[in-house]
Symmetry: C2
DNA sequence: GTCTATAGACGGATAGAC
DNA sequence: GTCTATCCGTCTATAGAC
């Protein structure tokens, strides 16, 4: 990447390929994208893709790894933190992921697809699951303690963690449904997502209240 | 499909192809699957695929349409019902979809992918969105009324509908994370999903209580 | 580093025998 | 209806000129 006058940044061919590849792979996955699509979008010659990245598969692996980094680091640092109380932690998690997904709207569907299609044995994936394992345990333990303090033993901590991730991820994958007929446009959608940064923690905390769990 | 003695059902080649195709396409999508994969899985000759279904694309369209039918009909009938009160309706929706997804575990990720990748202009998809549009409106209106009765005007009805779908869909796409290190196996996972049929309605109803929304 | 041209493999589809 | 053999367009990857 070379800076030129007027502070305008002219991207190198390598960078242009990578950005185009990220956008396309994140939207549609490995199999649906042709190297020609990437080259065309980047405005570079097809041969340069192999020159810089060796193969389509290696380029994809690079993109995937980078796409998963933010997700993985978020889990490790936010979920695994042992200083913060549960409510603060949930607020931070919600903030972090919603901000990240507003920046990259295809990321949630990409991550969901990768997680869903995971088959044990893959080296990259195993590294991934091992890395988030401990952080997950810390968070689940914290939920468990919180529930015990509230006198609730009827609900598995995994529900709360799953619900948290559900409320963060899913809306980004289903904006097309809201936009179709619910009278919600792109700007409305963004505002709703911003509102959720405030609301999701309230919703999740209320799920751990006796009044909700023992109702009826 | 021909019945033979001992009540064992021997599938026709056509049916074998369709079942194999459904499993593979639902798991990995159109682009990642080769016609040769389908033929091999079905134990039939590659040429038969084209003989019965004309092309890979036509076979996929057939599978996708069938996969989306249950989802679409669920929305139209359950969301669009004008007789039932909101709580009963939510209970029915949760029951219906969780039961369906327990039967076909890859369906949620498939539906999410189709919805997410939708670009307006596609005929099948437009039919789909038109069909669910009214049912969606009925449901949103009902939520709006419920919120007004509770004296809550700080929250958009779309949040509630989105939350409901989130809590139903997402867990099926992320079971791999729970299974990796949270000490949850396949049987535990199924039990958790069954518990959710009872819990999700309570969680959603509580989101429409003033105590939750005006807290802090 | 960047291009053109092309090798070489793959995958969808079909012709034609049985 | 089912098979084998094969066609042919497409796609990844590379050789080699500049």
């Amino acid at each position: 990447m070379t800076k030129i006058k007027n502070n305008i940044v002219k991207l190198s061919a390598e960078e242009k390929i990578k950005r185009s590849a990220r956008e396309l792979f994140t939207q549609k996955g490995f199999a649906a994208i042709k190297t020609r699509d990437i080259a065309e979008k980047a405005g570079i010659n097809l041969a340069l893709l192999n020159y810089y990245f060796r193969s389509k598969q290696k380029l994809y692996d690079l993109i995937m790894e980078e796409n998963m980094v933010a997700f993985r680091n978020g889990i490790i640092q936010l979920f695994g933190n042992t200083q913060m109380n549960l409510e603060q932690k949930i607020e931070n998690i919600v903030q972090y992921y919603i901000d990240a997904f507003l920046e990259n709207r295809d990321l949630p569907a990409f991550i969901i697809s990768v997680i869903h299609q995971h088959q044990h044995g893959n080296v990259i994936d195993n590294k991934f699951y091992t890395a988030i394992g401990n952080a997950q345990k810390v968070f689940l333990e914290q939920i468990k303690t919180h529930l015990q303090n509230k006198g609730i033993n009827s609900i598995h901590p995994a529900h709360i963690m799953t619900n948290l991730m559900s409320l963060i991820f899913f809306p980004f994958t289903s904006s097309n449904i809201l936009k179709s007929r619910a009278g919600i446009n792109e700007q409305d959608f963004i505002e709703l997502m911003i509102e959720r940064k405030k609301m999701i923690p309230l919703w999740i905390m209320s799920m751990m209240e006796p009044t909700v769990n023992f109702k009826k």
